[in-house]
Point group: C2
Chain length 173, copies 2
């Protein structure tokens, strides 16, 4: 089975990084819990929103993300029994490209370069499963879409949902 | 129609750059004509082959390539009537990723980031046409493959061939 796995919010904790940076720079008190159901940039005062939306253009932002809980262990097992690919809509941020490659080599060294895809639209992917947090990626994928729970998508409906990597393991291992 | 276009040897003159760098550094006299039918690194003395094979890991190598003749004009027209994507097996060289993005933005500004794919294996692509110089990419593509002529592949058979961008225009416009 050919499985595509998104990066941000699925194996890399982008949401948590936005919160950490914001709290540090604006002496804020955002938490994942208080942001539930929203994009993180919408949870700060209007005057700070532009700053939060530009986090992703900073050098180092994508290189220093924390892996999502259990993602390394489960992906390693999935990789043993399936044809596993990473597929990230990274082209929006050219500064992220090499950082994402380096980050994957550090945390997921069992995934070879031939199995990494940095792209834009994901409807160009041909395979069986896409694990992604964004509805607009899942909508146009021609296989089984699994929506990975992230603070911003907890109220989204219409897709088969996985709340964490242990649930993915139950479904696909 | 969804069309994928490779970068190196198809819209970016990697082969010519290898020759230029080699001739400059080793006072060589390689030409495209004398290399016909071969990989460029095989055309230099054994002691120099490692140097040539490492050109692609140098900072700046992919940023300064010449566009292949007529590629800009024909891609611009293809982009008007088809769904056009760039698909480059760039993940092998992490240093190339941002350079390729910048190069495309300079020479092919009409291609949005959503239509750029930096990947490894190309059999993960879902679409109608793949224009590529490498047989191993065309072999596993699930649509119409067009082999774009490059000095290294002139003796390859088994694929529909296009010798230049004017021939692509005749077939696809």
């Amino acid at each position: 089975m050919k499985i595509f796995v998104d990066m941000d919010e699925v194996i890399a904790d982008t949401y948590g990084a936005h919160i950490d940076i914001y709290n540090q720079e604006f002496n804020g008190n955002l938490t994942t819990e208080t942001c539930m159901g929203n994009e993180v940039w919408k949870m700060v005062p209007t005057a700070h929103q532009d700053s939060v939306r530009k986090h992703a253009t900073r050098r180092g932002f994508f290189r220093n993300l924390r892996p999502i809980e259990n993602s390394i262990e489960v992906l390693s097992k999935l990789n043993d029994v399936h044809e596993l690919y990473i597929a990230s809509a990274a082209m929006q941020f050219p500064n992220s490209l090499e950082e994402k490659s380096d980050w994957l080599n550090e945390h997921f060294p069992f995934i070879p370069w031939q199995h990494i895809i940095l792209c834009g639209h994901k409807h160009i992917l041909r395979g069986d499963v896409l694990i992604d947090d964004r509805s607009y990626n899942l909508e146009h994928f021609n296989g089984r879409g699994l929506q990975f729970t992230s603070p911003h998508n907890i109220r989204t409906t219409g897709f088969e949902r996985v709340n964490n990597w242990l649930e993915v393991a139950e479904k696909l291992l």
